[in-house]
Symmetry: C2
Subunit: 402 residues, 2 copies
């Protein structure tokens, strides 16, 4: 029928029973006449346990040795899954990242895939083997092991789907698809049948935590059709692809992100180049900025406010406070905030979306601190304690109970 | 000064504290001006834990996938040891078996080293790195991971010492050398300063459990000087080398081996070729035979008795019972036996050794079931329950309390 890439996260292979469950899903797909390549992460808490082992020995372990250590996690899970599939009587082979041809950049802990040498993959598929590949890992030009960083296994799966021209890349997680909001917290949250890459990117960035961003970007670039689905239920999931407007939904989802810090720099001189100088310094230290707001100058001074992720707070404080140019400047950092967003490719042609969102917040008596918009999303910054209430209110406005 | 290969077993790197202890030993050696290559096994019970994981999934896991699984054990320990050494401020790099150039035969679980491509090892040494190598593992012609089988890390260490022309190969274990008998069980057991390869081979085969046989054979073949010593005490160990007669000891040690089964085949026809036919069949099934004893024929029949290891009992029973040629034959297998041996290169020129041993056993009222001798050892088979008593008695005869 075709070639299907399936990716299973750590919780899907956490113990022998779950490994057997995954073996069942994989072999069912194979029995339907498909070639199957499976990408797996390390079992359950393995990666955390290995990190703990390293930290017992060194507060700041060598990045190269950390990758050497962590790569053992997927090595264990691919071997176990291959054993389980063989046990069911199917031809199968497990491959480490380097055996599957993953050539990466040299930067340990956050390597980028440079090239996949697909010779071995093709060879194993031509022998009708189910191929199990260790996600998250590759090899650099020194023949040393590297890891791809957070969410790396998703990226591995999409990369294989791209080079092997797979018909579909299925990402199995512990949720059964992409929802209009977090179904554990929001009443009437609906599962989406499909969604575009761009919408998914916004949702991923905004904290929907279903798919890793890099993998969606790569899927978009190589036009790999993704499906997000659960390894525990036997239901269709959500398809992520280029065009997904069959449902004609204005808004695809409502998300919250609480890993946000609001940084206010007050008392800056109201002269040209101030914003450039600040953000240039921040960029040099890899501080990613999200919403930016600049006040209108008054009395020769102005304020600049922006948001970033919480882990950047110390760096930001240091950069601003050590800047000689603006000795009068005062920095105020507030992490007691949350970003609520609505995402949907349809909204750019519907000017009412923003006001509908603001109305829902107003009716819930929630104050908006900052606003940011793009073609397919509207985000607002609010007090953290109101985050869940805000998501529910906004979601209800766009997705009234049927 | 020179190049020293150091090998540390699983118990020497079982936890963070022990890993740090090994890091201390290694860096002390490096500080004395030596190049150092370190071979490590998997931590403590890691290998057993991984085997248990595999058995949870499959009663008979694929040998290839088993090697894939097990190789992760040493991967963890080399990374941790490298972190610990880096932490002490020394240049260090860890290498997996394949990175260190270990090319092996294809047979998973019991691969033989075919060649060590020493390019990377030499390169890292030339950069003044302490090199940590994963023992027990290599890669076959398919680019798949293999393991060397029981005691494989010792073999890895000796092989590296051989190709790198190391000045010494130190094997760190939980005993501090080779003793004339098991010091935990035999009073007055003495540590040997040195011992020959041949003596060590007999001691290893006979159950002294200090060094793996393959590694001693390889050390002999390539004339690698071995030292057996403890990672927990800072004392010189026992040197294993070609000539070691400075001590002029008649006997080097007394050992017991309880993994012995005595097989009696009775009622065989007293005709030529019987022994050949039986042992040919056993050899075809890889049943290793130790002592062989054939009775003098009587009434047209004879008996053949031999010893083998306990795991071969079922195979032996099946082979003999399914042999059409000797339908009258009866097989009796007894695993309630132990083999006691004295080993020493000096004994061939001292005919009194055997009688001294037999006298000690007689005085302890221990019956000898079978006897076997070689140029450097004398072995007897006795009832298992007398094994410890026999070792003590024989040891006392050769090594009287000073």
């Amino acid at each position: 029928m075709g070639l299907i890439v399936q990716k299973f996260g750590g919780s899907s292979v956490a113990d022998a029973q779950r490994v057997n469950n995954v073996a069942k899903i994989v072999t069912d797909t194979y029995k339907q006449g498909n070639d199957v390549i499976v990408v797996v992460s390390a079992q359950g808490d393995t990666t955390d346990d290995l990190i703990a082992k390293a930290n017992e020995i060194s507060a700041k372990p060598s990045a190269r040795e950390m990758d050497m250590l962590l790569c053992s996690g997927e090595q264990i899970s691919i071997a176990l899954l291959a054993m389980a599939i063989k046990n069911l009587g199917f031809p199968v082979i497990s491959l480490l990242g380097w055996q599957a041809g993953f050539n990466t950049s040299s930067s340990y802990g956050k390597a980028r895939i440079k090239k996949i040498n697909d010779e071995r993959l093709k060879n194993e598929i031509s022998k009708n083997n189910i191929v199990i590949v260790a996600g998250f890992q590759g090899i650099n030009k020194y023949d040393d092991l590297t890891t791809l960083g957070r969410g790396g296994s998703d990226t591995s799966a999409v990369a294989i789907a791209a080079v092997m021209h797979a018909d579909k890349c299925q990402i199995f997680t512990d949720v059964d698809g992409v929802y209009t909001a977090d179904p554990r917290k929001v009443e009437n949250a609906q599962k989406l049948k499909d969604i575009t890459y761009d919408e998914m990117l916004e949702l991923a960035t905004l904290g929907a935590q279903v798919l890793n961003n890099r993998s969606v970007e790569m899927a978009k670039k190589y036009n790999v059709e993704l499906e997000v689905l659960s390894s525990l239920t036997n239901k269709p999931g959500t398809i992520v692809k280029e065009v997904a407007n069959m449902e004609k939904m204005l808004v695809r989802g409502v998300t919250k992100d609480t890993d946000v810090a609001r940084v206010c720099i007050m008392n800056l001189p109201d002269t040209p180049g101030v914003a450039f100088k600040i953000f240039d310094k921040l960029a040099a230290k890899n501080v990613n900025i999200d919403i930016i707001l600049q006040s209108v100058g008054r009395d020769g001074t102005k304020d600049i406010t922006f948001t970033t992720t919480c882990d950047n707070c110390d760096t930001v404080k240091e950069i601003i406070e050590n800047s000689f140019e603006y000795q009068e400047a005062k920095v105020e950092i507030n992490t007691n905030v949350a970003k609520i967003s609505v995402v949907g490719a349809g909204m750019e042609s519907h000017p009412g979306t923003a006001s509908k969102m603001f109305e829902a917040l107003y009716e819930s008596d929630i104050n908006i601190q900052m606003i940011s918009t793009s073609e397919i999303k509207i985000s607002v910054l609010i007090e953290k304690e109101n985050a869940d209430k805000a998501v529910s209110a906004v979601h209800k406005a766009f997705f009234p109970a049927k």
